[in-house]
Amino acid sequence: MDTDQYKEIFLDESREHLQAVNDNILKLEKNPNQLDLVNEIFRSAHTLKGMAATMGFEDIASLTHQMENVLDLIRRNELAVTTAVIDITFEAIESLEEMVSEISEGGEGKKDVSHLVSQLERIEKGTASQKVDNIDKEVSVDMNLDQYQSTIISQSKDQGYQAFQLTIQLNEDCMLKAARVYMIFEALEELGEVIKAVPSVEELEEEKFEQSFSLILLSKENEFIIEKRVKQVSEVYSVKVFSLDQIQKEEVTVIEASTEDSKVHEEKPQSKSKSAASKTIRVNIERIDHLMNLFEEMVIDRGRLEDLSKKVGDQELIETVEHMSRVSQDMQGMMLTMRMVPVEQVFNRFPRMVRGLAKDLNKEIELKISGADTELDRTVVDEIGDPLVHLIRNSMDHGIESPEKRVQQGKEKTGTLELRAFHSGNHVIIEIEDNGAGINREKVIEKAIANELVTEECSEKLTNEEINDLIFASGFSTADQVSDVSGRGVGLDVVRSKIESLGGHIFVESEKGRGSKFSIQLPLTLSILATLLVKVVDETYAIPLSSIEETVLLKPEQIMNMQQQPVMDFRGKVIPILSLAEVFQVPSYQKSTEQGNTAVVIVKKGEKMTGLIVDSFIGQKEVVLKSLGELLQDVKGISGATILGDGRVSLIIDSNALVK
């Protein structure tokens, strides 16, 4: 069968299911008694197995099948949730993930899973002896009554009915199972009312069951009469009848106490599942990208129209154009949100990673995640994973100390690692904070000198910030021992360049003995940005608003000189000022000797600020960022270009390169 066309869907859905399994297992580890989690996991594994088998990925199917068996035992309370079980399940998921990603890269999804399968088998078999033969519990799990049915049971009880659970087994050689089922049902209807059957009545009628099935009967008769009545039907091998009273007692009392409450509970999950089922569609990311490109073209034309309408000065035209601008701004917002995905997608894999790594490192680490629902552009989310993994590994390996050491230092035995994401203006900030050892200043300097990043004399003058900056230099690693986790020296510099390539920045704050905090600042979107247009001689430059602190007009006497470097006073801080015309060697620029006011744009990079002298401010404008192309990569101080309303090209200033 040609299954290629389904491959994408298979991949997407497998990833979703694996993620769901992953999340639920983590939850299960914390609450081993929550059997509904097991049910969830079981369902995901089951779907996965079915899909993989259809697509012909045998290894995935066999592994999930074995997982299912083990889960089934847990589900039926025949196996306790132990660390060993969780560990092996994680291992299985990891293998599954590997296989899925191999398939996505065009591979066959083959992997030797026999080892895992046999381990799972062992768990499955090894439990036969520990079987908890607790029928009551089995029943309650098996039948899984919903609120509605529980309510009926409790209400019928008031009318003198009793609820019974029947497990009926037909003879193995029974030919017309459906007919027998029909007869049994008919017999039971005489005694009372069947309110639930597992498998469902439809499935039973279509003979979609093996030999046995269960049902719940409301009846005024007692167990023996029911049993006798069922046994009158031929080809019934055995009948077991239990009163549901005891099992349901707990639930029933809750329901009796407040039916109002139960109604609320009932509605919630339903509405949630409904909206999830019907209100999303899968759209290929390429289409959204294409739409975005088209929209960018439109933004350019919008700018042109705005200019034209102002020139023409026709009121009606101006109003129409303004309206169009507003609509297209909303459109832009929508388009951007379409591309937005919650960082959850990336964060999701961390709990498991941290758990595994903490074990490997013999450390006790608690991971706290907040703001996982913060949304970011899809491209950013796709790219940010690796840098984050690196930073987390880094914090766990170098930052958080071993439990013994922590106790020695009077800290809590368990180290915490906090992962936070939140919005801040036009940016999303992701923070990774640990309460570990912090950055060791002396060690950093020592290493930097050894690696010839700084000289010894220089090192004494370095500020804390500059030292923290050093750890991002290439070829830098302070771990004395190269560990498996981190410390190969190819690290933070790669992290930094990756983040910068995404248009973001990374900062680190650290206090020795108290821990360190890495903050990553990322742009919300990559292609459309708000800028301030400025004029220098005949050239128009665009400065991203996100990096602008303020614009000021300086009187000549406010510009001072400090070691031949013009500086200005900005709220008590002395900051250097640069003339854009000089930096960019704009042709026909003459240093003005006029005594007028100087227009200065104050840009910031982290805490540092620089004033940029321009001729005049034009105004604020949303522009589409375009690259200068291969030929003009890495032009210092320029991050790209954009097309203005009049069709001219304007360069976008990369102020980070200009702030010294």
Binding site: E297, I300, E539, V583, F584, Q585, V586, P587, K626, S627, L628, G629, E630, L631, L632, V635, K636, G637, I638, A641, I643, G647, R648, V649, S650, L651
Partner: protein, 153 residues
């Protein structure tokens, strides 16, 4: 065997040059060049070509045969090579002709100050010689980058 090559003929100073028409996307008038600071001299800047930012190179400066003064005849050849799109400033774009491969000679050592690397051959037409440029070499990224590095130093 005889094969025909379609070339675009253009003028630099008083010489006629040709490039394969396959590599030329369009011919434009020169307008509104935005300068890009701190780049090599022969990169004149960027233009907006129907929504695409396209770098512009002064071909004469690139070939070290002087600088272009812009006139009404000045044209920009938009070239597409290896996913790069650039514009080349030429004095005039004059003709499109078919050249028989048999009249193309290997490049002599020096022609009009243009080093042979940049030339794929010389076509002998009835009344003149046509220098066929090797654009891949002219727009060789590695070389341009090297020049850029020198400039930065």
């Amino acid at each position: 065997m005889e094969t025909l090559v379609k070339v675009i003929v253009f003028q630099l100073k008083n010489n006629q040059y040709g490039v394969n028409i396959q590599q030329v996307r369009s011919i434009e008038r020169l307008q509104n060049v935005t300068e890009v600071p701190q780049t090599v001299d022969f990169i004149k800047g960027v233009i907006n070509l129907r929504g695409e930012i396209t770098p512009i190179i002064d071909l004469k400066e690139r070939l070290h045969i002087g600088e272009t003064e812009y006139t009404d005849d000045t044209r920009v050849l938009i070239i597409n090579i290896n996913t790069i799109q650039v514009g080349l400033i030429v004095d005039a774009a004059t003709d499109v002709i078919d050249i028989d491969s048999s009249i193309i000679d290997a490049p002599p050592e020096m022609i009009g100050g243009v080093t042979e690397d940049y030339i794929t051959g010389v076509a002998k037409l009835e009344d003149k010689l046509l220098i066929l440029l090797n654009l891949e070499c002219v727009l060789n990224m590695d070389e341009i980058k090297k020049i850029e590095e020198v400039v930065e130093d």
